[in-house]
């Protein structure tokens, strides 16, 4: 019997007979496959960076905002507040069993100075529980304490970027005085770098007791614009959200449905972001698929041209004993080899390109994308080749031999 190896060798000879054309045809598939891989990597990369930035907000956290929301109850308009009483109510174990900690958040952006060095930091005034809720760990010195909060102590824990911006290499910031706005703060602790995976740099912070921040920077207030609440676990986060919402509703004499605060659930944020990132990735995948389709049409076109050009050769082959199946196979193998080779080179190119940051996104190779792209390249070869190969196989030997 006619052997597979012989027909593959024959197909390779056919491909080799017109290198430039083969290469140009391959280019279509190559670009298609490379763009599938790169675009999927960009999709995956951006979805991961969104997830990372949400995760950098903390672990199992709820954020309550009272961004100046008003509610009308009766004739007078009342300004709803998140205040010290809210914190007390929310910290009650009985009413809110799934809440682990509640931290007020006062944030303001100020220029920090240390001698001649300046650095724009975001100063966060809070309580010690804020550090754990936001995933900050102290790498040197100590964290701010409840005693600091009670004493309005002007002490600060510096994020890694802020510390390196304000202190020259080799000097020890611990115990040093820095100026935040117009006030002097003592650096008591340094925070381990979280990595600036988010949209904002989580390491450019200066965390101080909220009492001191109010005194020195934002002015005394009876309310907070934001509360960071940490739940006990990821699975009970939505329970915690329910508890928080009903406590705040009761405090403000309103219903949960018309609660004048926004409660952001980190878990649902992630799932929303993940699903929109998925949509984005799918969209990119389709764009890439279209370019692969164009490549496939190119392969089919060239295969049709090849079959026409080699009509006489097909006639000769049939005259000397090639049966239909063998002619079909020869051209099919040719098309598959062109596509697959294009696919392999395209995959290599795609992997190469994925190492660079593209449009601000660090692409992450989706593990499925390379086998997918290669599989598709194979499929393209078969689909684009089957009709031309069938045309070649069904040529009648007399007609093919007469062809000029």
């Amino acid at each position: 019997m006619f052997r597979l190896l012989d027909s593959v060798r024959m197909a390779l000879r056919g491909i080799g007979s017109n290198w430039l054309r083969t290469l140009l045809t391959m280019l279509g598939v190559l670009i298609g496959v490379a763009s599938v891989i790169v675009l999927l990597a960009i999709g995956t990369g951006s979805s991961q960076s969104i997830q990372n930035s949400i995760q950098s907000l903390g672990t199992n956290t709820l954020t309550v905002f009272s961004a100046g929301q008003f509610s009308s109850s009766g004739p007078q308009i009342r300004f709803n507040q998140l205040n010290a009483q809210s914190i007390t109510l929310l910290s009650n174990r009985e009413n809110a069993p799934d809440v682990k900690s509640v931290s007020p958040v006062i944030s303001t952006s100020v220029t920090a100075t240390n001698g001649t060095l300046t650095y724009t930091t975001s100063v966060i005034g809070s309580t010690p529980s804020y550090l754990a809720a936001s995933n900050y760990t102290v790498s040197a010195g100590r964290a701010i304490t409840s005693a600091d909060v009670a004493a309005h102590a002007q002490v600060v824990d510096l994020g890694a970027s802020a510390a390196s911006g304000l202190f020259s290499v080799g000097s020890n910031p611990l115990g040093q005085q820095i100026t935040l706005g117009n006030a002097q703060f003592t650096v008591v602790g340094l925070l381990a770098a979280k990595g600036s995976s988010g949209l904002s740099n989580a390491d450019a912070v200066a965390i101080a007791p909220y009492t001191a921040v109010e005194d020195q920077l934002t002015g005394e207030s009876t309310s907070f614009s934001e509360l960071l609440i940490q739940g006990r676990s990821a699975s009970t986060l939505s329970l915690a959200q329910g508890e928080v919402e009903s406590i705040l509703a009761a405090q403000n004499d309103t219903t949960v449905a018309s609660l004048p605060f926004t409660v952001l659930n980190q878990a649902s944020l992630i799932s929303t972001a993940t699903s929109s990132a998925k949509t984005f990735t799918t969209l990119l995948g389709w764009v890439a698929a279209v370019s692969l389709l164009v490549g496939a049409i190119g392969v089919m076109n060239i295969m049709l041209v090849t079959v026409t050009e080699r009509t006489r050769e097909i006639g000769i082959r049939k005259a000397i004993g090639a049966r239909k199946l063998i002619v079909l196979f020869q051209f099919l193998v040719e098309s598959v080899v062109i596509s697959f080779l294009g696919g392999v080179i395209g995959a290599a190119a795609g992997i190469g390109v994925s190492h660079f940051t593209i449009a601000g996104v660090k692409p992450v190779l989706a593990s499925y994308s390379v086998p997918l792209a290669l599989g598709v390249a194979l499929g393209v070869g078969v689909l684009a080749g089957i009709y031309p190969a069938y045309r070649a196989a069904s040529l009648r030997p007399v007609d093919a031999l007469r062809y000029e």
């Binding site: 006619f2 024959m10 050769e313 000769i316 082959r317 000397i320 049966r323 007399v398």
Partner: protein, 250 residues
Amino acid sequence: MTVFDARSDAASAPPASPPVIMLADVMKSYAMGSEVVHAVRHVDLRVDRGEFVAIVGASGSGKSTLMSITGCLDFPTSGHYSLEGVNIRDLDDRALSRIRNTRIGFVFQGFNLIPRMSALQNVELPLVYGGIPHRERRQRAVAALTLVGLANRLDHWPNELSGGQQQRVAVARAIGTNPALILADEPTGALDTTSSLELMALFHELHAHGRTIVMITHEHDIAAFASRVVELRDGSIISDRRQEPTSVGA
């Protein structure tokens, strides 16, 4: 050259072995618009083992059409054709390919070698299709090329060979599978006198070794090398005579 010697087959064959070609009332018609062209009409032809037949006739008399039918490249519109006793009508693509591969060797006017395949590869190709193992097909292809005097041109591409050499490669390809029938359509049509005579010498030798050859030609001095001349006119046989073949080198 026992591989290419058909006499041993003939000797071992039973006395009542079927004729190589048996055409009975064969018609081939083409519909050209409203008109019907009868390229071959009511042809009866029997060619026995070991004959060297020349088919002559004016252009358009149906010679090539007849060859396509005898070569199993086409079917007759009506009538009956059997090759070595096998009715062609009953065969599918696979069986027909097998017959073309093993029982028939073609030599065409335009050589019809496959470009970008060396002389050796061209001669090997039918053996590849026949599923002959690598080593054996190489041996047979080299033997066939040696027989046609091209042992020193194995790795030449067709475009590196003269017309006469290309045609000899084609002959080598035709005989490499040890076929029952060699079909040649104007094999000297594109050759000069010297190459034509060389080719006829080769055909003469194959005939002397018992091969069955059917050769189409325009030229009477080429037909003179055959042992039998069949003349066609307008698709019908108008004469069929045996003759003493001219010996080559005369």
